[in-house]
Each structure stands twice: as structure tokens, then as C-alpha cells.
Symmetry: C2
Subunit: 86 residues, 2 copies
Amino acid sequence: MSILSYFFGEKKKTANVARERLQIILAHERAGRDAPDYLPQLQKELIDVISKYVAINADDIKVQLEKKDDFEVLEVNIVLPEPARR
Amino acid sequence: MSILSYFFGEKKKTANVARERLQIILAHERAGRDAPDYLPQLQKELIDVISKYVAINADDIKVQLEKKDDFEVLEVNIVLPEPARR
């Protein structure tokens, strides 16, 4: 399965709501050694970078961090504001 | 299916090779309107940010961009260098 089909599966469920969305997923596999856990700090900087390209409201950002063994997945979901057409 | 299970499925295939890996996925849904395509520029800046946290060799970065309709997925795979224990 390609990563694109994963997101297309997700898309179908929410196809009725036509909003611009940006999803960032950071997956970190630490290979069993004592690597530092920098994902939370990294996340803040990534959002700062994205803010340079699109206007983001802090309220529209949803962050989820999942951990299992040496594997860590940070998921950031951003619903972008409506364009200025209203 | 959670995004974590997607990555765990991937992990099993390559479990023999114990390397530290970082995967970034940027999924952009444009909601049918004429939004600018900023993912390639964004990708460069994201890699710059990550370089502040971990040493990355340019050769170890693999980038893949998939597009379909108004949906665009940028996948960046980074194999991190071995630690200084050898």
C-alpha cells in the first residue's frame, strides 16, 4: 500500500467538507538506542516554517503523538483558513 | 486504521536493518481551489530545520512527491548516520 492510498482512504470519509488541509506526519524510528526525543521541539519549528507559507490559526492545529517501543509518530493536522472570497 | 499501524506495517518489512530513520510526510488537500503549490519549497526548509537536531547527509535523503487531483503527498525518508560508537 502506498502512503497516498492511506490518505485517499482518509479523504473519502471527510469528502463532504471542502476545506484546505495540511497534514504533517513525522515518524521517528530510534533503532533501539538511546537517541534524544526531539520530536516535540521539532514540531514547533516545523509549524513556524509552515506559517511562512500559509496563514494558520493556532486553534486549527491538532497535534497527536503516538509512541510504541522505539517508534514514535507525531501527527499534525491543520485546517487552513477559508480564502478571502466570502 | 491509525497512522501508527501504517508505519508499523512498514517497519516489519525492514526490521532486520537496525538504523535510525526519520520519515516526514506532508499531505496537502487543496479543496478544489487554485492554491499555490508550495510543498517543494516547504520541503527544503523542513530539512533545514531537521538538520539542526540531527546530522543528515544529503545522500541519505529520499524525496517522493505523489499527486492526484487536488491532493498532494510529499514523502521524505531520511536514514540517519550511525552513532559515533564504531
